[in-house]
C-alpha cells in the first residue's frame, strides 16, 4: 500500500538549507556553471517529499489480499489465482466531452473503431478519449517538440524514463500543463476515492515548481502512473534453446560468454545476442541512470571506473567473436521476431516482454518458453541489479482545458486507478469478454487474437493513471517466477542515492554523455579501439562531465546533508 511520506528522512526546506542554497528552493538548485550569460539548460533538482497540498490520503480497501505477499514497491506482491471481480466505481459520473490523448505505441497501432474503446468509454461514464498513437521508438525525443508547440491534443502521456530527452522538463511542465493543485488538494475521496488512495509518495512525484527561486511555488501538474519497483528490465533467454545446448543458466559474465559461444554460429545465422548495450552495465557493477556512484567520498562517473573498460571489453568480445547479430548496430532489427524465430538466445527487454512472450506461447504463436537471467556478475564479485521505485510516468493535461473538462478527465483517471480484482481493471486490461479475451480453464483471462492486437498493446487506457496498488499479475507460473526472482534479487538491488529528488542534468553533461554513448558503441561494434577509451573519457569529462559532477555533487550533498 502506498504510504504518505510524513515520515521522510528530510524535508524540502531543510534540504536547501543544508546546502546553503537558501531561496533556490524546491524547484531547482541554482544554475551552476553557465556559459557566459546563458542560463538555460544548467540543470535543476526537484525534491519529492514534504508537501502539504497533496490529495489527502484515504485508504481504498483492496477487494482481496494477494496470494504472494512481498514488500512493495521493490518486491511487489502478486496473484497466482484469478478472483471474482468486484465493482470499484459505484457512483458513475456522466461525461459528455471528447478528448485526444497522445500516447506512445510500439508496433502497429490498433484501429480506433474497435469495440474496446467504445465499451471502456461507456463504462467510465461516457467521456470519449481518443488515443493519438505515436511511434514509441522516437516518442521521447519528438514529444519535446510537440510540447513546445502545444500540439499534443488535450493530454499526453510521458513515461519517466523518457525524461532523458527533455532537458528543461520543469519549464515545459509548468508552462504547458494544467495545474491540478486546486482541484486535488485536500480531501478528494468523495469524487475520486481511488485517486485519493494513491498516497503521498505517488502524488509527490507529480509535483514541479513554477518558480525555481520560490520553494512555495511547488504544484501538482500530472496524473501519476503506477508506482513500480523491483527490476523493470531483464535479459531474457529461450529456455528450450538453452536446454538443447545442455547448459545451465549462467550466473557470471564468463559463463554468459561460454553459453553464447556454444549457441552462436555465424555461418548458420545464429547469434546468442541481439543487443547488450543498456542492460549489461549492471553485470559489471556500473551505476544506473546518469551513471554516478558515490565512492570514497565523492561522486564518480561510470566512465571513470575500471569496470567501464571491462564492460566495453565484454561487448567487444561479442562483436569480435560474432556472438551478436552482425546488423545489430543498425538499430533496425525486429529483435522480438528474431528471438521468437530462434535466431538469438538472449533478448534484453522490459519485464512486460515476459508476459508478452508467454501469451505468444500460450496461443501457439511462439515456441518454447522464456526465463530471465538472474543476478549476473564478474566471477568473485557481488552482483548489482538495477532497480528503482518510481512512478512509471504521468498523464499531463493541456493547460488550455477548462476546469470542468479537467474534472471530467480526473473522473476517467479515477476509473483507471482501479486495481487488480476489480471489474474496471479487468475491462481495461483484457477488454470485452468473448471478443478480446475468454476465461481459461483455471479462470484466468486469456487474450483472443483480437485482444492481443488491440488490448495487449503496452500503452492504452491501462496506463492513464496509477493503480491503487500494482501487483504482479498474469499467467500463474510467470507471476510465481517473477515474484521469486524479485525475492532472490532484492539483496543485490542498487541503492538509489537520488531517492527523494528528481535531478535534471545540465545540458552540457547530457550532450557529452550522448557523445560518450555514441563512442561506446564505436568501441563495442569494432569501429574504434579499446585503447581509445581514456581519450574519449577525457573528452567527456572536459566537455560536460565535470559540469555534471558539480551539479550532481551539489544535489547529493544537499540530499545527504554533507
Amino acid at each position: 500500500m502506498a504510504t504518505p511520506s510524513d515520515g521522510s528522512i528530510f524535508r524540502r526546506r531543510s534540504l536547501f538549507k543544508a546546502a546553503g542554497l537558501g531561496a533556490a528552493g524546491a524547484a531547482g538548485l541554482p544554475f551552476i556553471a553557465a556559459c557566459s550569460d546563458i542560463e538555460s539548460g544548467s540543470g535543476t533538482a526537484q525534491v519529492q517529499t514534504g508537501f502539504d497540498f497533496l490529495p489527502e490520503y484515504k485508504e481504498w480497501k483492496l477487494p482481496l489480499e494477494p496470494d504472494l505477499v512481498g514488500e512493495p514497491p521493490n518486491h511487489p506482491s502478486g496473484f497466482t489465482s484469478y478472483p471474482e471481480t468486484v465493482q470499484a466505481v459505484t457512483d458513475l459520473p456522466s461525461g459528455t466531452g471528447t478528448y485526444e490523448l497522445t500516447v506512445p505505441m510500439w508496433g502497429e497501432a490498433p484501429s480506433r473503431d474497435d469495440e474496446y474503446y467504445a465499451t471502456v468509454n461507456e463504462a467510465w461514464g461516457g467521456t470519449v478519449v481518443h488515443l493519438r498513437h505515436s511511434d514509441g521508438n522516437t516518442y521521447a525525443e519528438t514529444s519535446q517538440q510537440w510540447l513546445q508547440a502545444n500540439e499534443f491534443g488535450d493530454a499526453i502521456q510521458i513515461f519517466s524514463w523518457m525524461l532523458y530527452a527533455h532537458p528543461n522538463f520543469r519549464e515545459t511542465v509548468v508552462n504547458s500543463f494544467y495545474d491540478l493543485t486546486d482541484l486535488l488538494s485536500g480531501d478528494i475521496s468523495d469524487r475520486w476515492p481511488l485517486l485519493a488512495s494513491l498516497g503521498d509518495e505517488v502524488w509527490a512525484r507529480a509535483v514541479w515548481s513554477t518558480d525555481p527561486e520560490d520553494p512555495e511555488s511547488a504544484r501538482i501538474f500530472g496524473i501519476p502512473g503506477s508506482m513500480l519497483g523491483g527490476t523493470q528490465n531483464a535479459m531474457f533467454y529461450r529456455t528450450d534453446l538453452l536446454e538443447q545446448l545442455g547448459m545451465e543458466v549462467p550466473t557470471t559474465t564468463a559463463e554468459v560468454l561460454e553459453v553464447a559461444r556454444a549457441f552462436s554460429d555465424d555461418a548458420a545465422g545464429k547469434w546468442a545476442f541481439l543487443g547488450s548495450d543498456w542492460l549489461t552495465p549492471a553485470w559489471f557493477g556500473l551505476a544506473s541512470g546518469d551513471g554516478w556512484a558515490y565512492i570514497d567520498g565523492k561522486l564518480v562517473h561510470n566512465s571513470e571506473r575500471p569496470e567501464y573498460t571491462e564492460w566495453l571489453e565484454f561487448r567487444r568480445i561479442l562483436h569480435d567473436e560474432k556472438l551478436q547479430h552482425p546488423d545489430i548496430a543498425s538499430g533496425t532489427l525486429d529483435t522480438k521476431q528474431l528471438f521468437k524465430a530462434g535466431t538469438s538466445l538472449f533478448q534484453q527487454d522490459g519485464m512486460t516482454f515476459w508476459s508478452e512472450y508467454t501469451d505468444w506461447v500460450n496461443s501457439g504463436e511462439a515456441p518454447g518458453g522464456i526465463g530471465t537471467l538472474g543476478a549476473i556478475a564478474v566471477e568473485g564479485r557481488t552482483p548489482l541489479v538495477h532497480a528503482k521505485a518510481d512512478v512509471e510516468g504521468w498523464v499531463f493535461l493541456n493547460k488550455d482545458l477548462s476546469q470542468e473538462q479537467v474534472e471530467e478527465l480526473l473522473d476517467v483517471a479515477n476509473f483507471c486507478s482501479a486495481p487488480y480484482g476489480t471489474k474496471e481493471w479487468e475491462l481495461l486490461e483484457y477488454g470485452v469478454e468473448g471478443t478480446h479475451f475468454n476465461y481459461g480453464e483455471d479462470g484466468t483471462p486469456v487474450y483472443t487474437d483480437l485482444g492481443v492486437s488491440v488490448v495487449q498493446a503496452p500503452v492504452n487506457y491501462k496506463t492513464f493513471s496509477g493503480e491503487v496498488q500494482k501487483f504482479l499479475t498474469g499467467p500463474p507460473a510467470m507471476v510465481q517466477a517473477l515474484f521469486d526472482q524479485n525475492a532472490a534479487l532484492k539483496e543485490y538491488f542498487e541503492e538509489d542515492i537520488w531517492a527523494g529528488v528528481r535531478v535534471e542534468a545540465p545540458a552540457a553533461f547530457t550532450a557529452a554523455a550522448q557523445n560518450l554513448q555514441d563512442q561506446e558503441n564505436d568501441v563495442a561494434y569494432g569501429r574504434a579501439e579499446l585503447s581509445e577509451i581514456p581519450a574519449m573519457v577525457e573528452t567527456f569529462l572536459n566537455n560536460g562531465g565535470e559540469e555534471g559532477r558539480e551539479h550532481f555533487t551539489a544535489v547529493y550533498e544537499s540530499l545527504h546533508g554533507e
Binding site: N168, S176, D327, A507, A511, D522, T539
Partner: protein
Amino acid sequence: MAALQTSVPGAAQAPTERPRVKRKRTVGQRFRHDWPLLLLTLPAMAQLAIFFYWPSAWNVIAFMDYSPHRPFWENPIVGFAWFGRLFSDPYFLPALGNTLKFALAQLAFVFPLSIVLALVMHSVVSTKIRSLFQSVVYLPYFFSWVLVVTVFVQMLGSDGLVSNLLLQSGGDRLTFMTDGDSFVFLAWMQWAWKDAGWGMIIFLAALASINPSLYEAAAVDGAGRWKRMWHITLPGIRPVIVLLLILQLGGILTVGFEQYQLQRDSVGFGATEVLDTFVYYRSIIGPQSESFGTAAGLFKGVIGLILILIANNVAHRLGEQGIYQKS
C-alpha cells in the same frame, strides 16, 4: 516691301526644343497602373513572407537565451554566446569537416556524373532505349532515403543478399555497411543511384536548346564525335553548368540529413555526423536550446551566402552569366 524672310516658315511658332524629362510617377500612380500585376504576385509574396521571411526573422533568437515559454521580449540578449558555445563544442569541427568532405565529394563525383549521364542520354537515338534508360536512372530519385538505405542493407548489409552468397561460397560477410572508413564511398554509391538521374534532367534541357545545325555543320567540316562534344555540346551547356555549380556552392554546408541520420547507428557518428545531424542531436532532440541550433543554422547560411557571392563574382569575371545577368 515685304520684309526678307530669314527664318524657316513656321519656325517662329515652333516651341523651343526642351530636354525630354521623364516624369516620375508617384507610388499611387504606379500602383493604379500596375495593380493587376501586383495582384498576380500576391500569392507568391504571401508564401515567401509566411514561410521564408517570417521564419528567417526568428534567426534573432541565436542572440538570445530563448525559451518558447516566455514572451519573446523577455528573452535575455546574450550576444554571440551561443556561437561561442557552438565553436567550442568538440564535435562541431568534426561535423563541419564531414560536411565539407561530403559536399566536395558530391561536387566532384556526382555533379559530373549527371553531366555524363545527360550526354549519354542525348546520344541515344532509339526512343525505346532512351525511355528505358531514363526510367532506370531517374526513378530512384523518387525513393525516400529510408527505402534507399533499406535496399542497400538488404543487398550489401552484413546479413544481406551478397553477404549470404559470399558465405555460401566460402567467403566472409561484407562489413561494408558498418565501416566508417569507407562511408564516403557508400554515400557516393547511394547518391549516384538516387540523385544523379535527377541532376541529369536539367542538363538534358540545356542540351535540347543547342541548335542541331551546329552539329551538322561541324560534321560536314569533318569534326568527329569527341570534337563535336568538346566544341559544341559542352560550350552549349556551360552557362547551366556554371549556374548549378554556383547554387551547389551556396548550399555546400547543406548536404542532406536523412541519409546520414539513418546510417548513424550502423556506421558510427564519427563518420556520419554532418552539421544538420549535429544540430538535430544537439538541439532538436538534444539538450541544447533552440538558440544553439539557430546559431548553427545562421552560421551555415552566412557561409553559404559568402560562397555564392564569391562564386558568382568569379563567374562574372570569367564572362559567365552566373546566377543573374550583370548589367
